[in-house]
């Protein structure tokens, strides 16, 4: 069985080494040993990394993901948890859809000021009413590494 140097994992996963070390420190992945100082990973680490990427994109936190993958050992993913997350995504999607419709409407609405548009105002009220409940939707890449 072939072991991967962190550099290879970086190449294959697209993640920076700092992230891999960070994930290791959090117990999300494990290196199988060292060669000198250097970490060696086995190929399964790439699977775990892809699961982590998937989990992140589904909105799981790293802690949740660590929970689901097991701090070590073979990934064992809880189906109920997935279903819950799917439900949660459903909610988000509905909310975002309503918002998009309203945004679209506001963008095309001919009233001189948005403040006079009933649709827009209903939306505003809804946003206030929801208050602190919902957080903003997906963001772009956070770091400066994001350039193509």
């Amino acid at each position: 069985m072939k072991f991967l140097d962190i550099g290879e994992v970086v190449q294959r996963s697209g993640l920076p080494a700092s992230t891999l070390r960070f994930y290791e420190e959090k117990g999300l992945i494990a290196s199988v040993g060292r060669r000198g100082l250097r970490r060696l990973f086995d190929v399964e680490a790439l699977d775990r990394l892809s699961l982590i990427a998937l989990g992140r994109s589904a909105g799981f936190s790293l802690d949740e993901i660590g929970d689901m993958l097991g701090l070590d050992g073979p990934p064992r993913i809880d189906r109920a948890r997935l279903a819950d997350k799917a439900d949660e995504l459903d909610q988000t999607i509905r909310r975002l859809t309503a918002l998009r419709n309203a945004l679209r409407h506001a963008a095309e609405c001919p009233t001189p000021s948005h403040m006079e548009c009933p649709t827009f105002n209903r939306l505003r009220q809804a946003a206030v009413a929801r208050g602190r409940e919902a957080r903003p939707p997906a963001k772009r890449a956070p770091s400066s590494r994001s350039g193509s």
Copy 2:
């Protein structure tokens, strides 16, 4: 015209005073004066606050919102910007929908391990491929104030 003490704004907006001060400091809202030390707001501040809430829930950052509302003066919302955001939301919604479907599938899929489910694996690959491009979707309330 009646002026509102910050406490009233807190009550009516549902936002904590610290947030109102923070928003004022950022130039998102303005107090019209003071009574003693205490800020006085006029009722329009509530409108601005609801716009801010709306903007946040649409995924605008506070800076973007400040930009759109004008650092001061009457809110003047750029329709092109709204349309752009609506498009962006569309993307997000599509991505989230695909994800939800796949999650749902994975939750119901009868293969013994997710790693053997082709749908799940396609999804994993996609998540890796997207790599660092997309950030996770909506989050819950950030603070401990979130209880009902």
